[in-house]
Symmetry: C2
Subunit: 438 residues, 2 copies
């Protein structure tokens, strides 16, 4: 099975765990059997590999997520990087071209497109296979998944099929309705449109050639910024005549708010936290090293991260976005392809950061114009390169770097260091990268 | 007026703001007119000085609070340091001997004893003066303050006076009753015993000589550990025949729980925090640099500090202690006589701390057996002394210290540094102090 996972933009609805650079799909919140935690993207990736160990998985995303994807899924995952955000039609066209021109997938093969963050069981992936098989038959150009509604939701678009058969032609689509209207649609046999569909590769390649006039993946990538923003639904789905829908009745949850996310959590407490016996319906998701104590609360979610602390009535938590938008805050934690960093302290003319490098990984070789830096290695082994000078480093070693000096650190084992940045104008954009020859 | 302020032990009932080394009286929670915040002890100290600018104030406390007292009240405050905790009779005897033998107060002068942390208005301090004046007359050996009850509390002992006059003889004392019994006492004219009283210095000096057989303050101090634990109420008050009570009807609050503390707060939010419009009766006290967002909550207190995060129904917050007792946690923040420190990061073999020195102050000259340290100065100016070698330091300077090496830093301006501790066995007790000659 070829599968394109659409990994959407940053979301603030799960603040303080999601932020401008960490999207909700990267939050490690689901407990695995071995006691560790996995994120939405890790869970879906694992589930796909379980359903089809030969699946060719390509994540379509922006470059801001590439580091986190490699960090969480490893270096082998296929990534179709969008140079900028241009909505779903350009994104799917680019990922499809990537499959054809980079991965050399046969244009006659089927591909399934789905979001990276549904909360689903194994049956969902069997349904994806069925979707791909149906697309492969060529009866229709597009085969959509229609999710059997469990309530008259206002959050989803609806697909109205011609019949109640497992696979049916699509009669029409309906935009997100009011709850009343949704009830009427459901009475007519309507299904939720979860944005999951399959097609033969060549179908979207041809559509893209028709609508964007591109030659190949590389050419499309190079002029991606010039493309018009348009959704795949609007550009393709709604105009297609040969279109079918397959019913899906298994578990399918969209964990976009704290309310729905906590419903999917198996435990009340993730991280350090205590609920006293008078709490009911309370969830704690705590990424800090210090404990959270909750007493006498009902239907409340508490989440703490280096970005901030949320305490919300679960229903109210859906309305979080405008409040979070007003926080002017720098990013306090980020996953990178080489590891992660966390801001420990911010002062007017200094910033202190804890950097963790994964074994065998290294930072870019880089310099800063307006700040000096000091590294104190606190664990692990590796080497630093400062203005071309290599040095093995161990815990306790101190490296001082003046503004302008080129530097990197290469981890042999997992390596942690405290970085103190010093200067009048400390800014994440003050970074020049260089090729490292060694 | 001579006044002894009893500064009690560490309390966990206001966790996470109070901890093993920071007692509730040191939490800066009351907004001043200039927009800064003051603690209970700072508020009371300021109020006393306002009522009587010549007041001789002596704080009776354990040595663990001496640094915080100097930090918050300055170097001039008189402190009678208890070498260990021995309950209130030995503590008051020691403080009284301190006034006589160190401060050379005339034994005929009156002294007032009161807790360091009542939440009161200026009228309270006028009442203290009246208490002292009454004690000075010599009609009685002890003059107690009797607080007019506002409700039948189970939290206080009761004083039953002979009459309803402003100053009356005490008929009897009653232990903390049930609410029903408290109501009966109040119907008989009973008053709350707030632990506030006055006496002529020589009265307690004589009592102490009688019960402990000491010679002077210095001798008493040196054998303080050998004294029996006994309360002043039990040893003295309840046995005294010549005892009076003065009524006090002004505001008097005991801010011992989050519930009572938040009642006394003028603002809903101290520190970074946002309450959405659906919150009612919510208080946020946030000592962290990141925001707290509260949505849809009612009658809840949220407090965040480097020690942890509390989210509690206000009434439930009275029952916090056993939950906090189960947290095995190191101290993450402390005020010292020279400034303060905050733990930023804890790893198995390293700890990273932010140290702030007040202008003109310095750490003890000290060494550690089992850990190396690295200092990175991030702001301010001063000098370091490392194994006798002096060096001026400025932001960006790095000082490395091996285990065993003697070191200190002296702040000229306010000076901040990041300290990275490295070693197998990092422990607060691993500290040897030395005299510094310079």
């Amino acid at each position: 099975m070829n599968i394109i996972l659409l990994s959407g933009g940053s979301g603030k609805r799960l603040w303080p765990l999601s932020n401008d650079i960490r999207s909700k799909q990267f939050i490690k919140i689901f407990r695995c059997q071995d006691g560790t935690y996995e994120s939405m993207v890790q869970r879906v990736y694992r589930q796909i590999k379980k359903a089809d160990s030969d699946a060719v998985i390509t994540v379509a995303t922006s470059k801001t997520q590439v580091s986190a994807l490699h960090n969480q899924l490893g270096d082998d995952v296929g990534i179709s990087v969008e140079p900028c955000r241009r909505d779903t039609f350009p994104a799917i066209a680019l990922a499809t071209a990537y499959l054809a021109d980079v991965m050399h997938v046969d244009p006659e093969e089927a591909v399934v497109v789905c979001p990276v963050d549904p909360y689903v069981e194994d049956a969902y992936f069997e349904a994806l296979k069925s979707l791909a098989a149906q697309a492969g038959k060529g009866e229709a150009n597009l085969v959509l998944m229609g999710i059997e509604p469990t309530y008259p939701s206002e959050k989803y678009g609806y697909i109205i099929p011609e019949s109640a058969e497992h696979t049916a032609a699509v009669r029409t689509f309906k935009e997100k309705p009011t709850a009343d209207v949704a009830g009427q649609y459901i009475a007519q046999g309507a299904l939720w449109n979860g944005g999951v569909f399959a097609y033969k590769l060549k179908y979207v390649l041809d559509k893209a050639r028709e609508l964007i006039h591109y030659t190949d993946y590389y050419e499309l990538f190079s002029r991606y910024e010039t493309l018009t923003k348009i959704s795949f639904d609007y550009a393709v789905v709604e105009k297609e005549e040969k279109i079918q829908v397959q019913r899906f009745s298994g578990q399918w949850k969209d964990l976009g708010t704290w309310n729905t996310l906590t419903e999917a959590m198996e435990e009340s407490v993730v991280g350090k936290g205590v609920l006293n016996e008078t709490c009911t319906g309370v969830h704690i998701v705590n990424e800090m090293d210090v404990p959270v104590l909750a007493m006498g609360l009902h239907d409340v979610v508490i989440s703490a991260s280096p970005e901030g602390i949320l305490v919300s009535d679960k229903e109210q938590s859906s309305y979080i976005k405008p409040y979070v938008d007003q926080f002017e805050q720098q990013v306090m934690f980020a996953e990178k392809s080489w590891g992660s960093f966390r801001v420990l302290d911010v002062e007017t003319k200094s910033m202190t950061i804890k950097v963790t490098l994964n074994p065998g990984h290294r930072m870019n070789y880089h310099s800063h114009r307006n700040r000096d830096e000091v590294w104190v290695v606190i664990s692990g082994e590796g080497k630093t390169i400062v203005d071309g000078f290599e040095q093995a480093v161990n815990p306790g070693d101190v490296i001082t770097m003046s503004a302008g000096c080129r530097h990197t650190v290469i981890a042999q084992t997992e390596l942690k260091l405290i970085e103190v940045q010093l200067g009048e104008d400390i800014n994440v954009h003050d970074k020049q990268k260089f090729e490292l020859e060694y």
